[in-house]
């Protein structure tokens, strides 16, 4: 038999044929993604119609016709309304936002003292950024500084009354300062409370377990407004004569209680995800309850639920806008309060103000939700076997 008598065998792989022309390039993309079938064509047409209908209006209103600077309402009103714009003009009144920007950020915090919240914000960012980047070492110290040291420093800086800083009482706080400080302190307080509640809910002691369940389910079952009403109207009646809380503190208590219940459920999810072997392993090493939880279970569980915690934080940031109902002035509250200013009362003011507030909230929440997705992906790969 001759070696080469066999039918021809190819020794090297054939090169892949290029895809047919109709499967490549822009046309193929369009065909696949936009006009795949009759239904698709209809959807595309509808989609284009929506975009064409919405986009020009938005761009016109928000950018082209918008007024960016100006001293008072005249720049944002038409001639008929007593302003300088031609009749039929509509456009965003960013001049209003521009003029009130300081108030939107700090409320009525005294102007000469505004460096204090700015300094706090800088410290916050300086501590937060390394916390968020996984590669930066010394997370424990960082967390300690961020969640323990920073609130103390921030408290003395913002409230004042010591080290020669003038006292700034909380009714003068407002705007983004209130929104961010309420939600940040709320999360810092609700995290340990949530851990305790979650542990309590999984406890073997029936009374503690039931108390935690009742607390968590009650708070989760009622709207935040009711909790805030409770804090603002009823709390004063609960306290003995002569003791009363600052309104800011009352809102803080309400928001923290509320967040703690949600946090507890998030953490409970993490606790449940830890395999039973971890608990049993800890038991077999002879660790006590707190050792088992503190050294073995919680470090794993908390790491698992970071996305959940960030999502709770997003929810909290959004929820702080409700404090305007108990007449505190967070970002949304200050914006709405300024609609009443006769100097800036125009038909465009409310729209512009609300969109500005929405944009600020959106910026924070969107950034955080992206971060939460990022950690989710990172943790996901870490645990996949």
């Amino acid at each position: 038999m001759q070696e080469h008598d066999m039918s021809w065998v190819r020794t090297e792989m054939a090169l892949a044929q290029p895809a047919p022309a109709r499967e490549r390039g822009a046309y193929a993309w369009v065909r696949k993604n936009l006009i795949g079938s009759v239904g698709d064509i209809i959807l595309t047409v509808v989609g284009i119609a929506i975009v064409l209908w919405v986009l020009p209006q938005v761009v016109n209103w928000a950018f082209i016709n918008a007024v960016w600077t100006g001293p008072d309402r005249t720049v944002c009103t038409t001639a008929a309304q007593g302003g300088i714009q031609p009749d039929g003009w509509t456009g965003a009144c960013w001049a209003f936002v521009n003029a009130k920007f300081g108030q939107f950020m700090f409320g009525t915090y005294p102007i000469e003292e505004r460096w204090r919240p700015i300094l706090v914000a800088i410290l916050f960012v300086a501590l937060l950024v390394p916390m968020l980047i996984p590669r930066v070492p010394r997370k424990g110290l960082n967390a300690l500084l961020l969640f323990v040291a920073l609130p103390v420093v921030a408290f003395f800086l913002l409230v004042g009354g010591v080290f020669g800083l003038p006292h700034v009482e909380t009714p003068r706080w407002g705007g983004l300062l209130v929104t961010l400080s309420l939600s940040f302190v709320g999360i810092a307080v609700s995290l340990p409370m949530g851990i305790l509640l979650a542990l309590g809910r999984r406890s073997k002691m029936p009374i503690i377990k039931w108390l935690c369940i009742v607390f968590i389910e009650t708070v989760r079952g009622i709207p935040l407004i009711t909790v805030l009403f409770f804090a603002s109207v009823m709390l004063p009646l609960f306290l003995p004569e002569g003791v009363s809380f600052d309104k800011y503190l009352r809102a803080l208590i309400g928001v923290s209680l509320f967040a703690a219940a949600y946090m507890a459920e998030v953490i409970r999810g993490g606790l449940q995800a830890i395999p039973k072997g971890q608990y049993e392993g800890a038991d077999s090493l002879g660790l006590g309850y707190w050792q088992k939880m503190g050294l073995i279970v919680l470090p794993q569980a908390l790491k698992l639920v970071i996305p959940g915690i960030v999502n709770t934080f997003i929810g909290m940031l959004k929820d702080t806008s409700l404090v305007l109902i108990i007449s505190m002035f967070d970002l949304l509250g200050v914006v709405k309060q300024n609609f009443a200013d006769p100097n800036w009362a125009t038909p465009q003011t409310p729209k512009s103000g609300l969109i500005f507030a929405a944009f600020v909230f959106w910026l924070f929440c969107f950034a955080m939700s992206r971060y939460s997705m990022y950690t989710e992906r990172r943790l996901d790969t870490g645990y996949r076997r």
């Binding site: 309304q81 409230v159 004569e241 809380f245 803080l252 108990i326 309060q337």
Partner: protein, 342 residues
């Protein structure tokens, strides 16, 4: 349980507590060095923050007057903005020392809510405002049957409205909001045909509408709204101080003592003015109230007399341009009557 303990801990540690025992508000106020004053969240002419966050208006000035009487310094006052719902609990719980927030004096509030009204700093009445351009031919509230009426919730206004339409056998749809800004915005957007609140308020609100000239205030006044400051029940001394601050403002106007001439007036030989300004040789009217004898001088220096306060905030000196009307002194045919200091 946890939260209360936490709250107290937090409050104690953070120094947030504002102690306000009911026995001796004056002492507590003196001790902490300022008066905590409850105002509205923003009603032009009565209490509204200006661009710099300083509170302006009759109600705010009244608190300044009390501060001037107590400390001789009108700046020793801090303002707490309150919604209609929160105002009473805030006073009851001691969060504020005096409620000066265009609040109507009613028997129920004086009794069941634990308030003690000091006097009537502004005699008001509830009225209606309509857009005359959209509703030509409507010139009386009695033509409003079937109208949608914007009103703020949690006020006597809401109750008067229901009573008025019921009494006149007319129908209406209430459109009720929590906050004044929201009512204003909804009315301005055309959600309602009519807007009802205290007449003084209507004039202030008209200014903030997109075309003020289109709107008219109807002539009917459907209720009595005596607006005045209130203090907690059960502290007579503090109530007296607030009450006589108010009377001092009236008496100063009656005697012709103004912010400008108060120093000259101190040399006056008129025994009435001497008693008022504490220059009478052995008068101690101020000291008897727990104040300094020249407390009226401090008040008038700080905020002027009642007339000046009125004109500056809601009258001819303000954009509201409300006439004195029944708020004129009794000597000029109004209702403002200050019992004598003697």
């Amino acid at each position: 349980m946890k939260h209360i303990a936490l709250g107290i801990l937090g409050a104690a540690a953070l120094g947030f507590t504002a102690s306000a025992a009911s026995a001796g508000t004056l002492d507590t106020v003196k001790q902490k060095g300022f008066i905590q004053c409850g105002v509205s969240t923003g009603l032009a002419g009565f209490s509204a923050p200006d661009d710099k966050g300083d509170w302006k208006g009759i109600d705010a000035d009244f608190c300044r007057a009390v501060a001037a009487a107590v400390f001789g310094d009108a700046t020793k006052v801090k303002f707490t903005p309150l919604s209609a719902k929160e105002r009473f609990t805030a006073l009851q719980s001691g969060e504020i020392d005096i409620l000066s927030r265009n609040t109507t004096w009613t028997s129920n509030r004086d009794s069941a809510l634990g308030l003690d009204f000091v006097g009537v700093t502004y005699y008001d009445g509830q009225g209606f405002m309509i857009n005359a351009k959209k509703l030509p031919g409507v010139n009386s509230a009695l033509q409003l049957s079937g109208a949608a009426v914007c009103v703020q919730s949690g006020t006597t206004t809401e109750l008067n409205l229901a009573d008025y339409f019921k009494k006149n056998k007319m129908e209406y749809n209430p459109v009720v909001f929590e906050k004044l800004e929201e009512v204003n915005a909804a009315y301005d957007a055309g959600r309602c045909d009519a807007y009802t609140t205290d007449q003084s308020g209507l004039y202030g609100i008209r200014l903030t509408l997109s075309s003020p000239a289109d709107h008219v205030v109807l002539p009917e006044i459907i209720s009595k709204e005596p607006l005045g400051p209130a203090v907690r029940q059960g502290d007579d001394q503090w109530a007296h101080i607030a009450r006589w601050t108010y009377f001092a403002l009236l008496n100063a106007e009656e005697a012709g003592v103004t912010q400008a001439n108060v120093d000259e007036m101190k040399t006056s030989t008129d025994p009435n003015i001497q008693r008022l300004l504490g220059t009478e040789p052995d008068g101690k009217y101020g000291a008897d109230l727990g104040l300094s004898n020249d407390f009226v001088v401090n008040i008038v220096k700080a905020v002027g007399n009642y007339g000046e306060m009125f004109e500056r905030n809601v009258g001819s000196g303000s954009p509201l341009k409300i006439a004195r009307g029944i708020n004129a002194l009794w000597t000029k045919g109004g209702l403002q009557y200050g019992p004598p200091i003697r």
